[in-house]
Symmetry: C2
């Protein structure tokens, strides 16, 4: 059995919150392919997978979290880090909640835990990005207190940064003060 770090918290429903370890990577890769409702098709799944290489579980585990069920299947995760260049900023790179776990506050609980953890470490600002077409994500971040940074173009009220992460990879940029 692979060694795992101790649980940070065990919930009444038997789910456990802990920091990730590198051996969580295959399960995370499956989640990245499966949990987004097929958004972007096979290309979208491959892009999400490439955005979470193993290095995040190796080197940014202490500000990242996984939630797993009693049977050790994955229910949710948050990958975040402290900006090395900007000592005020922490960054949320990727958050996923399994389809049957959505709309029950699990994602928000992970965000709040990250806010608390990085706030304790002196960070005062959180940044993250999403795709302009992911309207659920945009609405969600707005509810969570993020504001959208001005972009290159307004698209139905959404400020879009064109080619932000490469050719064709437009993004919406969020910021939230703690």
């Amino acid at each position: 059995m692979t060694e795992r770090p101790p649980a940070i918290e065990t919930m009444p429903d038997g789910t456990t919150l802990r920091h990730p370890v590198p051996s969580d990577h295959p399960r995370l890769q499956l989640a990245l392919a499966d949990w987004w409702g097929g958004q972007g098709g096979a290309v979208g799944a491959a892009q999400r997978r490439l955005l979470v290489p193993r290095l995040f579980l190796q080197h940014f585990a202490d500000t990242s979290y996984v939630v797993e069920r009693a049977d050790r299947t994955l229910q949710a995760f948050l990958i975040g880090f402290l900006s090395q260049t900007d000592p005020d900023t922490a960054y949320i790179h990727f958050v996923g909640v399994c389809p049957e776990g959505q709309r029950n506050g699990l994602g928000s609980a992970l965000y709040r835990r990250f806010f608390n953890a990085v706030g304790t470490l002196g960070r005062t600002r959180i940044r993250c990005i999403t795709s302009p077409g992911n309207l659920d994500s945009i609405a969600y971040h707005t509810r969570m207190g993020f504001r959208m940074e001005p972009g290159d173009r307004l698209d139905q009220g959404v400020p879009v940064h064109l080619d932000y992460d490469g050719p064709g990879l437009d993004r919406v940029s969020f910021i939230r003060e703690l």
Copy 2:
């Protein structure tokens, strides 16, 4: 004109070494597509591009470097960071040298600069990975003092970690003590 950080060093041939800024990202994306001799075709180029999202230039600039010519075209880059989870380790994520700049010591100079920078910050170990098929990269890292970590399988003497970064994304893992 986009603001750039001051040069760390200006070489006799007019090239300049400095830390990257987010506005370097489009040039880096072009380099990732063009500098690898077409390795992996269009899929390989897309994979390399997705592995260097803008966040590395925003949040890990202080342990990353670009070399540009007097006409401001890009000649080489190194993207690296300090492990947040392991206080002894620094990680080199991606290094590129333009084809006409290879075999003149530019890559090695960037590696040595990174070793010095992170050594000064107390790091004693450097990690990085490469693809098993990239024999030039494997030979290069061996010459630079890296050793290969044991993998899941030996492939013509090369220890391969299967599906290291996701399905089909095998990797060779390097480590070097400072």
